[in-house]
């Protein structure tokens, strides 16, 4: 069979697969929408342990992220760059750091590890060989992490300094001249957010440092391969007991954000880092000094953590829309199946 009938059959087959995929996604959306709309919002000052839904404004904890495509300060971003006509991504980077949610009664700390994020795109544009890079593209040139409360000197340095293009930008610069699609989803301080997860005492978190970060660039320690490697290294006595022996300067509080609390061991030719003042040192030292009984929000095996941009109704509405699209997918699948049957019938008849 060839000619128009074959083309119809191929199109119908594609429509069938796409419709079923839309339906599958829509059913997932229905489940999530139910979970959001069936859980009442707790006031933060009176939350109790267990599954809770809180809604409020994002406030930074100790550290913020700098997004990859627009260099915006945020607590979560997912940045992608792809060349048009190519399924492979040039860049796919997703990171999150711990933050606080504040409502009119108080605030609660969120540990975002293993969270499912529902955040619409803040930046969605494309470059072309004619127009060049999109206007909003302002790629990050420094570290991905920054202090949540940078001091005056840091801000002056950031304002007046000239950043060198990083590895990604250089790569993009030398890549072929095909059009690219840029997309960045972000959650920033001040955004309204809805979080559904398990409220648990801070002391019950297995590893707060791990739970506070979600980084697609770093494999988690519970990854089977990583866990096996760690166990093997431990058995062989290769793991060091002291963090400073293992990590060197990186074990000094504040070193990662360029404000170490004490003098790091640097190469003599390296630029000296300004030491953190007493206030900053106290702030760095405060990290994770959370009372063990204080309730925090985190993912649990039986209660997945969902973090959505916007008020609860808004988040649920997006998932309900996904469900409706899924129902349209079912209609598309049935229509495609009819078209496929007719095409095959005519093909067999011919």
């Amino acid at each position: 069979v060839d000619g128009p009938i074959a083309q119809v059959a191929v199109l119908a087959g594609g429509g069938l697969v796409a419709g079923l995929a839309m339906l599958l996604r829509g059913l997932g959306g229905y489940r999530t929408a139910n979970r959001i709309s069936d859980t009442a919002t707790s006031r933060i000052a009176s939350i109790a342990a267990g599954e809770v839904r809180v809604s409020g404004v994002v406030a930074p904890a100790e550290v913020l992220l700098v997004s990859a495509l627009q260099s915006a300060s945020c607590v979560y971003y997912r940045s992608t760059v792809r060349e048009r006509g190519d399924d492979d991504l040039i860049l796919a980077e997703e990171r999150a750091v711990g933050f606080r949610v504040r409502d009119e009664t108080g605030e609660v700390r969120v540990f975002p590890r293993a969270a499912r994020w529902d955040v619409p795109a803040r930046f969605d544009d494309r470059s072309s060989t004619l127009t060049g890079s999109p206007a909003g593209l302002y790629q990050r040139t420094g570290p991905a992490y920054t202090a949540a409360e940078p001091d005056r000197d840091d801000q002056v340095r950031a304002l007046l300094g000239i950043g060198r293009p990083d590895r990604f930008e250089r790569f993009v610069a030398v890549a072929s001249g095909r059009d690219r699609e840029y997309q960045e989803r972000r959650l920033e301080p001040g955004d309204t957010v809805t979080v559904i997860g398990r409220a648990m005492p801070f002391g019950e978190l297995d590893d707060p440092a791990e739970a506070d970060l979600a980084d697609s660039e770093v494999l988690p320690p519970d990854d089977p391969e990583v866990a096996a490697n760690i166990a093997e290294a431990r058995a062989a006595g290769m793991l060091l007991g002291d963090p400073e022996d293992a990590w060197g300067n990186a074990a000094i509080p504040g070193f990662g954000i360029g404000r170490p609390v004490r003098e790091p061991d640097l190469d003599p030719d390296a630029a000296r880092l300004a030491l953190a003042g007493p206030g900053e040192a106290a702030r760095v030292a405060r990290t994770f000094e959370i009372p063990a009984e204080r309730l925090v929000l985190a993912a649990a095996p039986d209660v997945p953590l969902l973090i959505g941009f916007g008020a609860p109704g808004e988040v649920a509405g997006r998932h309900q829309a996904t469900f409706l699209v899924g129902l349209l997918g079912a209609v598309l699948a049935i229509g495609s199946a009819i078209a496929l049957a007719l095409a095959l019938g005519q093909g067999l008849g011919a």
């Binding site: 139910n34 009442a40 109790a48 267990g50 009819i338 019938g345």
Partner: protein, 191 residues
């Protein structure tokens, strides 16, 4: 099998999957709602018990100074004595409202005794009871919101179709019925 039969089977199968999924999800959602209501109620109960346990200490702390305010102290003691975790929820709501009212009256009277301002333990107890009152109010709101969601859900399609099958009934709000507001008139018992 002809292509037409295959399409018909596929369409019916898809419909059955979607309807089955909705029924399955609705059942699970209502069960989860009921469990959330139970949990919300348990959390209120914890706060009510905390308040119940703290009231004797507060009454004992102010009794010596407020010798001429026995009515106010008696109201608090009566409300406390009426607390019964086994009563139906509307009855407990009535007792809780009476207790809150008695506590507010007591705090208002305490303000008229400046000498109590120097009693650290009285101030601490007052702060703690006010905090628990806030927690009770917030959790009551949460409980009622959860009950509202449950009752709305089982009154709407598709849960409405499943409700008779699984004997789903509306749950009661944590709110006193008008006839319950006359209570508690229990005899004053020692705290």
């Amino acid at each position: 099998m002809t292509p037409g039969t295959a399409v018909a089977l596929f369409s019916v199968g898809l419909l059955v999957i979607v309807v089955g999924f909705l029924a399955w999800e609705t059942y699970n959602a209502v069960v989860a709602l009921r469990l959330r209501i139970d949990k919300a109620w348990a959390n209120i109960d914890v706060a009510l018990k905390q308040r119940h346990d703290m009231l004797p200490a507060l009454v004992a702390a102010v009794r010596g100074v407020m010798a001429f305010e026995q009515d106010v102290l008696g109201d608090v003691a009566r409300a406390r004595a009426a607390y019964s975790p086994t009563e139906p929820i509307p009855a407990q709501a009535a007792v809780s409202e009476a207790t809150t009212s008695a506590i507010r009256s007591l705090f208002a009277v305490v303000e008229q005794y400046p000498e109590l301002g120097s009693h650290r333990n009285v101030l601490d107890l007052q702060d703690e009871i006010e905090r628990i009152e806030g927690v009770i109010a917030d959790r009551r709101e949460l409980y009622n919101d959860q009950v509202y969601r449950h009752n709305t859900r089982i009154a709407q399609i598709p849960a409405l179709l499943l409700a008779p099958l699984f004997h789903w009934r509306p749950r009661e709000f944590f709110a006193a019925r008008p006839e319950e507001l006359a209570r508690p008139d229990t005899e004053l018992r020692s705290a």
